[in-house]
Symmetry: C2
Subunit: 120 residues, 2 copies
Amino acid sequence: MDDVAAAIADPVRRQILVMLRERPLAAGQIADRFTISRPAVSRHLRVLRESGLVRDTLVGRRRLYELDASRLAGLIEWLDQFAPADDWERRLDALETEVYRTRRERSRQNATDRQQENTA
Amino acid sequence: MDDVAAAIADPVRRQILVMLRERPLAAGQIADRFTISRPAVSRHLRVLRESGLVRDTLVGRRRLYELDASRLAGLIEWLDQFAPADDWERRLDALETEVYRTRRERSRQNATDRQQENTA
DNA sequence: CAAAAGCGTAACCACTGTGTTACGCGTTTG
DNA sequence: CAAACGCGTAACACAGTGGTTACGCTTTTG
């Protein structure tokens, strides 16, 4: 998880991750979107690769990079221990509302079902 | 948010944040829990202070540090854009279970309340 | 098959970060 | 009020990071 945290610390690398969120990109395509040199981007890609945040595949003479966001799980889990209680409760409340909404819909659906049974 | 990400990147600083999760600590108390020198810890504390993750208060000749986890919000929000859908659903399921558990407890409590009403 | 494309790596340089020891300043204490 | 405490800062050494240009390897292309 240490590698992931260090990788995230750099703004260029964070930007690359955002770019790859859409779809895989070749190294050159990524480099074109930055003002820094292509080798500099290449080294950022290496850091991301070694942290596991990114997987690369050789396609002809190009190298495609794709996101592997699963490696962020550890960091997210670590951060969760700092989520304040009332934030947690806020989430819980929001989800509780969601659950009730779902239950209301289920009830309405059941009522409809019963009416249809009567009609049948 | 860049400051926060950089602050999080160091394992010593992450450990300090975990320590402060319990309660505020004086600089010396924090330093005692590390093998590195006290000035080294002091500088880590400065990084945390300047990133806003930590607030300090002078108390006599000691300096108490307390956590301010609210500054993590931006980073958490940024990370959320990479949370896969089924991870969100996993959280929802877990919280849904929590909601039902709470409701069961409330029902049991209500039942007890009614029994006590009968006794009264 | 020679030339161009696409990328990574090497070598180098400047800057930053992290550790150390020495020191200074304000606060408590005997 | 002098000594001890608590803590930050300064000065320094050194490793790591991030940028650059030059180069080389593999794959496509005309």
